[in-house]
């Protein structure tokens, strides 16, 4: 008999290249809609890579007043809208007592990059001698978390986790730990990011790992990642707390594993990645044979996809041949610090609705991969247990284990 508290998800809100709202995001994933397109939100003329997964539907001015916007970078705007949706869907009421026992933890790798980009341009290029007085509270990395905590009266632990591409999974994992341990009763968690501005794209171009055409994870023809942007926010609750108020339970977070490669600053490691997967399984009391689906990190770089496939095979053994592994980055792009949150939403959708999202843009089998990557079309299959992988630059790995909620 386990006395461990269980942690469930009762609300999800999303802003992504597939649209605004969890339902739109989920629909896009099921239809295999690719949100990657030529960049239009700024002039990409001097870029070598001119495509991205922009959240084209999302305009801050549609949601906030001009004076509110002066304090909100695009990452705060997206996070606030996603948080409001998640909290509304959850039906949870944050009175003072619950507000004191609710954590707010988000992942974001780059902070308010748009604000930095625009204002460096103003002072270095336009030679302006002053910037708007609120630039600091707009660009600071913790701004989105503070804005959410203020908007909803969340007074428990609140902070941003910054671990590059793993930021969101680390954030959700931390929130999961706080609720499971009994330190908190609820958490608002996820991630937010947008590097889709001129300076952000220029920095990524420098690494020479981006595709100029498309994101084709696990395909032999893959030639790099495509940047995206967005935010997904989850409401986590202790199971009994959710049941008591009759909440609609969307899924369960059951395990979390995190490791560091202690190896290379950009190259992934089989050892570090597979250890994180293994720890997530052990932490969740999950036998490898129970896994039905893995939402892969799947960046579509030559190296990541090969190492990730090997890591999955190392932990699951022959069972790796029986599961589905897909990369939804092929649709919503690589949202860096928000990636894990968009992918946790995709995984929860798959568990709840019995639809496994595809790997789009897939052209050709790669013998180095050899997994069922659900190529180019979603699949109707009921799965009970799934993983969502994030492996970051800097060798930081974070894996979430989730289960379908079956009423008990």
């Amino acid at each position: 008999m386990s006395t461990k508290r269980r942690v469930v998800v009762t609300g999800i809100g999303v802003v992504s290249a597939l649209g605004t709202g969890f339902a739109t995001h989920a629909e896009g994933l099921q239809e295999g809609r690719v949100g990657i397109a030529p960049i239009t939100r700024f002039d990409p003329e001097r870029l070598m890579v001119k495509i991205g997964a922009e959240a084209k539907q999302f305009e801050g001015a549609d949601h906030f007043t001009k004076s509110e916007l002066s304090l909100l970078d695009r990452i705060s705007q997206m996070a606030l809208i996603a948080a409001r949706e998640a909290i509304e869907q959850s039906g949870i009421t944050f009175d003072e007592a619950l507000g004191l026992r609710t954590a707010t933890i988000l992942g974001s790798a780059m902070g308010g990059l748009h604000t930095q980009d625009e204002n460096y341009f103003a002072v270095y290029h336009e030679m302006k001698n002053r910037v708007h007085p609120f630039i600091v509270p707009r660009l600071m990395g913790n701004a989105p978390v503070s804005q959410i905590s203020m908007a909803h009266g969340l007074m428990g632990p609140a902070y941003v986790v910054s671990t590059a591409c793993s930021s969101s999974n680390h954030a959700i994992g931390q929130a999961f730990h706080l609720v499971r341990s009994g330190a908190m009763d609820a958490a608002v968690t996820g991630g937010t990011e947008s590097v889709l501005c001129f300076g952000g794209m220029k920095a990524w171009e420098g690494l020479r790992v981006m595709s100029k055409e498309a994101c084709r994870p696990f395909s032999k023809s893959r030639n790099g990642m495509v940047l995206g942007e967005g935010s997904a926010i989850l409401v986590l609750e202790e199971l009994e707390h959710a049941k008591l108020r009759g909440a609609d339970i969307l899924g369960e977070i059951s395990g979390f594993g995190m490791t560091a490669d202690a190896g290379d600053i950009v190259q992934p490691s089989l050892e570090g990645a597979s250890r994180a997967i293994e720890i997530a399984l052990v932490d969740g009391g999950i036998d490898p044979s129970e896994i039905g689906y893995i939402n892969a990190h799947g960046t579509a770089t030559a190296m990541n996809d090969r190492v990730e496939a090997a890591a999955i095979r190392k932990v699951l053994g022959d069972h790796a041949n029986a599961i589905m592994v897909s990369s939804t980055k092929s649709m919503h792009g690589h949202a860096i610090g928000a990636a894990g949150s968009l992918e946790a939403s995709a995984t929860l959708m798959a568990l709840r609705e019995g639809v496994v999202p595809p790997t789009m843009g897939f052209e050709e089998e790669d013998p180095d991969i050899g997994l069922d990557v659900v190529p180019n079309a979603a699949r109707d299959v009921q799965i009970d247990t799934a993983l969502s992988n994030s492996f970051a630059f800097g060798g930081l790995n974070a894996v979430l284990a989730m289960r379908r909620w079956n009423g008990r």
């Binding site: 070598m48 690494l207 020479r208 790992v209 595709s211 030639n223 790099g224 600053i265 190259q267 190296m303």
Partner: protein, 89 residues
């Protein structure tokens, strides 16, 4: 001009490999100098900045790139090609 390119490329590679430019021979490969993928990206960047050219290089699959990085001589020829293209444009 030709020698300038050769010397310039040798200097860029030598800096990454932490050796003297004179140690680089025409047939020397990046592997022999212990240049990993990060160092190669830096070499490409150095070439672009020094010669004001744009090098078609994708770190995902260096062998598929249109830019020949197989050995020192090949790199010099490729850079000369890029400079000539720039002159034509």
């Amino acid at each position: 001009m030709r020698d300038d390119v050769r010397e310039g490329v040798a200097r860029i590679i030598a800096e990454q490999a932490m050796i003297d430019p004179s140690e680089i021979k025409p047939e020397t490969t990046p592997d022999e100098l212990g240049l990993d993928s990060l160092a190669l990206v830096e070499v490409v960047f150095g070439i672009e900045e020094t010669f004001d050219v744009s090098v078609p290089y994708n770190a995902n699959d260096p062998s598929e790139s249109e830019f020949d990085l197989s050995n020192f001589d090949a790199i010099v020829k490729a850079v000369e090609g890029l400079i000539a293209q720039k002159g034509d444009a």
